[in-house]
């Protein structure tokens, strides 16, 4: 009797295995996602991944019936183009993915871009803020932001709001130099004068000597760009220790200077810092309130989505929309064309759309100030620059030697 039961069980298990676990008409769409899941920069990859996963979990019924999305995850371990390229090739050739996404680092995106072009696979870039990224392949669509969207408009805003003498201090790497150029351009166009410019090495332990110098230059605004994380905290500490705010030097910068989730490490020295971003966790929009609430439910009451997380969320939203629009049978060219015309009026960051000309994101840029609300520090949005296109591409049209 006992053995009979076992045999029956084994038989039924074999039968169900042979039939597959899902109905025969299930169609799996494979999406490859390459991010940095380990090493010192894993926090960014984790934020993007969490944003993407949250969208997926909250929209289980948004794909056509019988269509299943499979995310094939690969860890590029850091800004390592060779690793990223190998992983992308493996995803395309061996896994047969129909879409690529991720795109945390510009150098890695640059390495993957030719593969996307060659294989004709759409590549949804969720981060990587270098302006020229979308020119690397006609299959790249970016839902993130560009450094120029933030820093160029922040420069204009700063000079038009009574701060006409500014110093800059940026981390000395490609993105920092890019941000410096963007800020200086916007700032001087609006009539400002740059007093001094410093490029600080990455992983500077103590920013005091640099800021001491700036204190003596007596600018009205200090523009900073750094890669975020502990670096951002170290800048703010030195800014507070030297009493620059009291000396009348206002710290301004893109969102990396005051990331939402780092604010609580920074303490009161961060109060009053002005920044430009396409996303703030404190953004007062219904879509964002829901997003933040769901995030806290999924990842703990102490965690906050940052501007990387919203890139993951919107990237997944775009991919879902592309699959839905084609009824689940996706074709690379149609997907690409759909994505380049994709828009989302109700993203947590506010309305956003893709510019069909440049395949880059058009979105609102918010000017925010760090304030203490209900006992915690927040980036409170107080001014909106609507529908911002990437200024760099407008200043460097394609074919005029602007590509880099």
């Amino acid at each position: 009797m006992g053995t009979m039961l076992v045999r029956l069980l084994v038989l039924s298990a074999l039968v169900s295995a042979a039939c597959g676990t899902a109905p025969a008409d299930t169609k799996t769409i494979k999406v490859g996602i390459i991010l940095t899941y380990s090493g010192p920069d894993a926090s960014i990859g984790e934020a993007i991944d969490r944003g993407a996963e949250l969208y997926r979990t909250l929209h289980p019924n948004d794909l056509p019936a019988g269509v299943e999305l499979q995310l094939v995850k690969r860890d590029e371990t850091g800004p390592t183009p060779d690793v990223a390229k190998r992983l992308a090739r493996e995803l395309i050739v061996r896994e047969g993915v129909q879409l690529l996404t991720g795109g945390q680092w510009t150098p890695n995106v640059s390495a993957i871009a030719p593969l996307a072009t060659e294989a004709g696979i759409p590549y949804v870039v969720m981060s990587s803020g270098t302006a020229s990224t979308t020119r690397l392949s006609p299959f790249i669509v970016r839902v993130a932001f560009t450094t120029w969207q933030h820093s160029y408009h922040l420069g204009k805003w700063t000079a038009s709001n009574g701060m006409t003498r500014a110093s800059t201090i940026v981390s000395d790497y490609a993105a920092g130099v890019d941000a410096e150029e963007a800020f200086v351009r916007g700032f001087t166009e609006a009539g400002g004068t740059i007093v001094s410019a410093i490029r600080a090495p990455l992983r500077t332990a103590d920013y005091v000597p640099f800021l001491e110098r700036i204190r003596r230059d007596k600018p009205q605004a200090l523009f900073n760009f750094n890669p975020g994380g502990p670096e951002a905290t170290r800048v703010i500490k030195a800014y507070g220790d030297l009493g620059l705010a009291e000396a009348g030097v206002r710290l301004v910068g893109p969102n990396a200077v005051v990331p939402d989730d780092e604010l609580k490490n920074m303490g009161d020295a961060a109060i009053g810092v002005i920044s430009a971003s396409h996303y703030s966790a404190a953004g007062d929009r219904p879509a964002n309130r829901t997003f933040v609430a769901e995030w806290k439910k999924a990842y703990g009451p102490d965690s906050l989505p940052n501007y990387f997380a919203v890139g993951g969320w919107d990237g997944m939203a775009a991919i879902f929309a592309a699959i839905r629009a084609q009824g689940g049978i996706i074709d690379p060219l149609r997907t690409r064309d759909f994505l380049t015309h994709w828009s989302n009026p109700d993203s947590p960051r506010g309305p956003m759309r893709i510019d069909p000309e440049t395949r880059d994101v058009i979105q609102n840029i918010y000017i925010r100030r760090v304030e203490k609300v209900d006992g915690e520090l927040r980036n409170v949005e107080f001014e909106t620059i609507p529908s911002v296109k990437d200024p760099w591409k407008e200043l460097h049209p394609e074919g005029t030697g602007g590509g880099r």
């Binding site: 010192p40 894993a42 926090s43 984790e46 000395d172 410093i198 490029r199 600080a200 090495p201 992983r203 500077t204 332990a205 103590d206 005091v208 000597p209 640099f210 001491e212 110098r213 003596r216 994380g229 502990p230 905290t233 170290r234 500490k237 507070g240 220790d241 030297l242 009493g243 989730d261 780092e262 609580k264 490490n265 920074m266 303490g267 009161d268 965690s303």
Partner: protein
């Protein structure tokens, strides 16, 4: 003129504060690497662990800052005892390469563990009000926290100097390191001395990590990011030169701060070239030549 004097005072002050935090972090390494000759590249792990204990005691249990720092020092000191008894002990006679590999492995494990338990972000630390103000110390107005760092660093240096040079325990360490068998035969419990001095080294690391947590934030990459500075201090001072570590850390802090003020763009390279030049001239650092 006054302007220049004011600038120099400010550079020396901030350089000293920076040097002190390097000293607090490095002096423990000077004990384990310098005196005990264990190439413990994982020294920063203990500093980070101390920092995590401190911030956790403060944020989770609401302990005051100084008590939390003490907790970090004690917990990590005990951790040092446990690790010495179980792991490091086996390495005393191992070749240097094995010690290096072992301690680098320990760094990777610690980074992964820190990420797992505390997440990837830097830990917030709420300094008490008396440390977050600015103090007039006669020569200028400076952040109280950095004045405090300089004070504590000075006291620690004094206490260690007296302990190593002037106490029986200090003499036992020096004896045990110089000639283990002779030390044993005159009745020194060498195994215990080694455990205690290793624990002292890790506890000092924890002190540096905890006290410095507001300047050098505690996050998983910590043991890697500051390792170079610690090694510079110990190498330039010379192995076993504990008092020298103070002078070297201060000189490094002040020089680095000054160079970065005047030449912000090349400061980082310049200070490393300077260290290289010093090490070329004095490959063994500035250690007193009396040692074997």
């Amino acid at each position: 003129m006054w302007e220049l004097a004011d600038l120099l005072i400010s550079l020396v002050f901030y350089g000293t504060a920076y040097g002190m935090i390097l000293y607090l972090l490095a002096v423990g390494l000077s004990v384990t690497l310098g005196l005990m000759r264990v190439v413990n590249l994982a020294h920063g792990v203990f500093a980070m662990a101390g920092g995590y204990v401190t911030v956790t005691a403060m944020s989770r249990f609401g302990w005051p800052f100084l008590a939390a720092v003490l907790a970090g020092v004690v917990v990590v000191g005990l951790l040092g005892v446990a690790l010495e008894r179980t792991l490091y002990r086996r390495l005393y006679s191992a070749p240097i390469l094995e010690q290096v590999l072992f301690s680098i492995g320990l760094i990777f494990i610690a980074i992964a563990a820190a990420r797992y338990f505390f997440g990837p972000l830097a830990q917030p630390i709420d300094l008490p009000a008396w440390l977050s103000t600015r103090l007039d110390i006669g020569i200028g107005v400076f952040p109280a926290y950095r004045v405090f760092l300089i004070g504590v660093g000075g006291m620690v240096a004094l206490a260690i100097g007296m302990a190593i040079d002037g106490t029986r325990f200090g003499a036992s360490i020096r004896a045990a390191v110089d000639n283990r068998r002779m030390a044993e035969s005159v009745g020194i419990n060498v195994s215990r001395v080694f455990t205690l001095s290793f624990a002292l080294g890790t506890a000092l690391a924890a002190l540096g990590g905890s006290l410095g947590a507001d300047l050098l934030p505690i996050y998983p990459g910590y043991p890697n990011d500051y390792l170079v500075y610690l090694l510079i201090v110990v190498a330039v001072a010379g192995l076993g030169n504990i008092r020298g570590a103070l002078y070297v850390a201060l000189a490094f802090g002040i020089t680095d701060t000054t160079i970065r003020y005047f030449l912000p763009d090349v400061g980082r390279v310049l200070i490393l070239l300077l260290v290289m030049a010093v090490l070329f001239r004095h490959p063994h650092g500035f250690a007193p030549k009396t040692q074997a």
